[in-house]
Point group: C2
Chain length 203, copies 2
DNA sequence: ATATTTGCTAACCATATGGTTAAACTAAAT
DNA sequence: ATTTAGTTTAACCATATGGTTAGCAAATAT
């Protein structure tokens, strides 16, 4: 059996690169380490992806493309704000528990190269907050929610859901718990966070 | 005038290293860049700090020592939970606005080297959550607060206060605002966040 | 059957990088 | 004036690192 059109090697490289880049970041990652991880010759990395930068961008785009739809769920879905918050919180925490490095990786690399976010903004499917803002304003007007700016609520939802994963080493240290207890704590947050938010905003 | 005992150069190096490390991280920082930033010969870095690793640790410890007391304020202060939350939120956001790279730097580097957090834990003054937990339990018992676990509340407070700084490029993109509007948004959070939390937990 | 393309490897290259060294300079102590 | 101790510099070193090249073998096209 020969190679498929979209060479299997290319895919193996991307997977290996994902693991290494997400652990070490762009600056900490080494092309040799990626090659070792993929069990191939280092030259193959350049054969398929030309440069470290381009390989990195391939990994980053893939990662971002995985995350974006999760956010669009809360921004563009048609259910009520309360429903959306409950669904999002539960789904998002499940999702990130399966990809724990994702948010840290994305946030770290966007901080390293903020101009990078512009590239992402151009792509279709980039999360947009406008519809969400209108919905919040409407539910406030209808007396369902207490007054709050859509932007602030959105940031709060993001913060409460994402932060524990980004700051896990810090939290484990402060709260003085091991990995197992942390996992449980995060699991509890699936409902905890939604309750916390809704308690706060419901009129 | 000769040099003081604690050589001025040593201090200049530390300041330069702080700027470079906080911008580029351990992996992205270059000793030559730090030397240039300090306007000195690269060998001086090693003369005063032996190695990149030790210079980095000096910077990191300084940074952490700056942040820790801020957290202890909410954990060990004697005022009521509501007061603490209002004070902390306002103070912390003011503080970080002056040192915007601090939390990102610390979180990024702890993720890079989680075993590093153990070193910090040993130091006295390392934030401890026990007293806070007891206080929460007590105020719940007294009917002042709705039931919530101290750990979860603590994480929520951290998340709401710290996350916007850590994820600022992402937030600016999603909410579609420039630096100025972001600054205003963060300023508003000084009271916004406290209200949000207290709304949620007050019985 | 022959030529061409594709996937792949080992060896190599130029440069960057953290770190070292020996000598020079400075200022205070003798 | 000379010694001594601390400070600074230029030059250097070994290694790591991203990237390139020439060639080979299998597959594909002619």
């Amino acid at each position: 059996m020969s190679k498929t059109k979209d060479s299997k090697t290319e895919h193996i490289i991307l997977e290996a690169a994902k693991r290494v880049f997400q652990n070490k970041g762009m600056d900490g990652a080494r092309m040799q380490e990626i090659a070792d991880e993929a069990n191939i010759n280092k030259a193959m990395l350049h054969y398929y992806y030309r440069s470290k930068q381009l390989l990195f961008e391939a990994v980053f785009s893939t990662a971002f493309a995985l995350l974006a739809p999760q956010l669009n769920a809360i921004l563009n879905d048609d259910s009520s704000v309360e429903e959306k918050i409950r669904n999002f919180t539960s789904n998002y925490i499940s999702f990130i528990s399966k990809h724990p490095y994702l948010p840290t990786f994305i946030i770290q690399e966007l901080n390293r190269n903020p101009n990078f976010v512009l590239k992402m903004k151009e792509k279709k499917g980039f999360p947009n907050i406008e519809k969400f803002k209108k919905q919040i304003a409407l539910e406030i007007q209808n007396g369902i929610l207490k007054p709050i700016k859509g932007e602030q609520l959105f940031i709060n939802i993001m913060a409460l859901n994402i932060f524990p994963f980004v700051a896990s080493p810090l939290i484990k240290a402060f709260v003085n718990i091991d990995d197992k207890a942390f996992k449980q704590l995060v699991e509890d947050r699936k409902t905890e966070v939604a309750d916390f938010i809704i308690n706060s905003i419901k009129a």
